[in-house]
């Protein structure tokens, strides 16, 4: 067994759509130890969700894993059958989705939906499952749990429903919790409450978390490690410290300039990243960020930049970091 809880190696994954092959993941590698909290940031379509889903063996049609390996808690996910994967989902690894309004089944009670996952993965009987469900609702800060168990999703507010989703996710004490933009669909105040709850639970339960978001503020408040994704590739990886105070990739730098600074007291100007996201049907040959980068060089257009280690826990894929490329760069800056 590898020392990692999550060990994704060189994952390539494409969607074979009628319009052509969408290369959703290009050589993605992620390692996480037990207890790590990883934030994945990046703009819409960069492959954050697909990465997380593939970890559960949930690749939506018409997606195919082309190469690479996904190992979670010693399971070789990419080689497992549906039946084997079912034993893990909701049990060792669980997920909360973006939209709590639609993620719960409208025709079943809250209790039923929490108990379902307990009955599925433990040998608790109905009565014990109900007790556990009640306990879970208290854990996620829902008052009057007995009454709530008998209610239907439409009787609860959005924030409450997301708490229920969290309760479902935690029901079997998973080793890893994936949160796919868990607060995007909620009001700002409710967002803060849900994040606070997750932070609390992280301490209490000690599970690993993958936090997916486009909101750097969210990751800053809870993640130790951050992976920045761009066009199906992790362009920079590092500790939260490093990413915020020592960003290396041009995209990361742009991303940081485009959000309000956490430390800034005076009103600083926000600078949006110019240009449009990559067309994933026809990704550029070299660095995917090249069309939007301020420092594009000729080599950037031709070849994919390799990873450069900045320090032990920080690496990034940008030609600017490749000393020798930089030095031998005879052709200079392209524009």
């Amino acid at each position: 067994m590898s020392e990692y809880l999550v060990d994704i190696q060189n994952l390539r994954l494409s969607f074979f759509t009628p319009a052509g092959e969408v290369k959703a993941l290009n050589d993605v590698s992620i390692q996480m130890k037990q207890g790590d909290v990883l934030g994945i940031v990046g703009e819409s379509g960069s492959g954050k969700s697909v990465t997380a889903y593939s970890l559960m063996g949930l690749v939506p049609e018409p997606g195919r894993i082309l190469s690479g390996s996904i190992i979670f808690n010693g399971h070789r996910i990419h080689e497992m059958s549906e039946k084997e994967l079912r034993q893990i989902r909701g049990n060792e690894i669980s997920i909360i989705f973006q939209d709590p309004m639609t993620s719960l089944n409208p025709v079943f009670t809250i209790g039923n939906q929490i108990e379902e996952v307990i009955l599925l993965h433990t040998d608790k009987n109905r009565k014990e499952a109900r007790e556990r469900a009640e306990e879970l609702l208290s854990l996620v800060g829902i008052n009057e749990p007995k009454k709530r168990l008998r209610q239907y999703p439409h009787e609860l507010s959005g924030g409450m429903r997301q708490r229920v989703m969290i309760a479902i996710a935690l029901a079997c004490e998973p080793k890893l919790l994936i949160a796919d933009e868990p607060t995007t669909a909620l009001d700002v105040t409710i967002q803060a409450q849900i994040l606070e709850l997750m932070n609390e639970l992280k301490e209490k339960i000690g599970m690993s978390i993958i936090m997916i978001t486009h909101d750097l503020g969210v990751v800053a408040s809870m993640c130790e490690k951050i992976a920045v994704m761009y066009a199906g590739k992790i362009v920079e990886y590092g500790t939260a410290e490093e990413i915020f105070y020592n960003p290396q990739h041009e995209y990361t730098k742009g991303l940081l300039l485009s959000i309000p600074k956490l430390t800034a007291t005076e009103h600083e100007k926000l600078i949006p990243i110019e240009g449009t996201p990559v067309d994933m049907l026809m990704p550029p040959q070299g660095c995917p960020f090249a069309p939007r980068c301020q420092n594009t060089m000729k080599i950037c257009l031709k070849e994919m930049p390799p990873y450069t280690d900045i320090n032990e826990d920080h690496y990034s894929a940008c030609w600017l970091l490749q000393k020798q490329a930089y030095m031998t760069m005879k052709d200079g800056v392209a524009r």
Partner: protein
């Protein structure tokens, strides 16, 4: 809930009042009369007959008399089948129609739901295309054509099924197929589109992420949601099918309510026409209330009121 039922019943009564009034006055617009059949009776006989049934009285008086009797649940006596109560005719004919109709509904719902779900699960594949084609035919082809085709092949050509009457289980097969074809097609199309919608819903993804098996997700999470519109359709379907199809009963010579209704119209048997119409209206209204209540049981989001 009880309040809701009472309210619906009250609205139903008003609807019934309107239906019976409209039917009553429509009767007077129809040319011809009940006693103008093959051999016209003498003027004296005609006068005596009209007197006997109160047809000589002014229209408002006739209307008043009719409505008063209706309040007591008395639909009057048939003009053609001498001395028989309309109530009596309806209640001997209804069970015949209801038996055929009941089977037809069962077949339509079970097959419709199954075919629709199978089509949705195999979207775009051959089996989906076949089901969509068949159900489109079922909706487009009129009932009498279905009856005729069935009779020609199964009855006349292959001679494996009887073509008229209702004396053995074999007699049920063709009328049940004929009666269930349209609703089955309708339900399967409805089911297919609802199922496709439901399968793409976020809560199905949640079920999968919980480790629920594909079949359990389908039967527990998807079916219950996808079947809701079918439940709505069930109200009118029950009322119309249980009371017998005019065409199917006429073609297969089934002595049901639909058959009796046609004869009453061609024979200008006013009380029977009105009685049957009002009874049908009553049934439709009742079935809709029943379905509303069932709907509430299946879908907790529905608020009755």
């Amino acid at each position: 809930m009880a309040k809701y039922i009472v309210k619906r019943m009250a609205i139903g009564m008003v609807t019934l009042l309107i239906v019976s009034t409209v039917t009553f006055f429509l009767m007077f617009l129809v040319p011809g009369g009940p006693f103008l059949a093959e051999k016209a009776p003498s003027a004296a006989t005609l006068k005596a007959l009209e007197e006997k049934y109160g047809l000589d009285k002014p229209v408002p008086v006739q209307y008043k008399n009719y409505m008063l009797r209706l309040l007591k649940g008395d639909l009057g006596t048939s003009l053609k089948q001498r001395g028989r109560e309309v109530n009596d005719i309806i209640f001997t004919r209804l069970p015949v129609s209801a038996r055929v109709g009941g089977w037809a509904i069962l077949v339509a719902v079970v097959l419709g739901v199954t075919l629709g779900s199978v089509a949705a699960l195999n979207r775009g594949k051959a089996i989906d295309n076949v089901i969509v084609f068949l159900s489109t035919c079922g909706i487009a082809v009129p009932g009498f054509v279905v009856c005729t085709v069935l009779m020609y092949f199964l009855g006349a050509k292959l001679n494996i099924l009887p073509t008229f009457g209702l004396t053995s289980y074999k007699h049920y097969i063709m009328p049940v197929i004929a009666l269930s074809f349209y609703p089955m097609s309708y339900i399967s199309r409805l089911m297919r589109s609802c199922m496709l919608d439901v399968l793409g819903q976020d809560y199905m993804r949640t079920a999968k992420a919980k480790g629920v098996s594909q079949w359990a997700a389908l039967f527990k999470h998807a079916l219950r949601n996808a079947i809701l519109p079918v439940v709505t359709y069930l109200g009118p379907l029950l009322a119309y099918t249980l009371t017998g199809s005019f065409i199917v009963e006429k073609i297969f010579t089934i002595p049901g309510l639909g058959d009796s209704f046609i004869s009453s119209i061609t024979g200008r048997d006013y009380p029977l026409i009105m009685g049957t119409t009002i009874f049908l209206a009553f049934l439709v209204i009742t079935m809709n209330v029943v379905v509303d209540i069932v709907y509430k049981l299946v879908d907790p989001r529905i608020k009755l009121g």
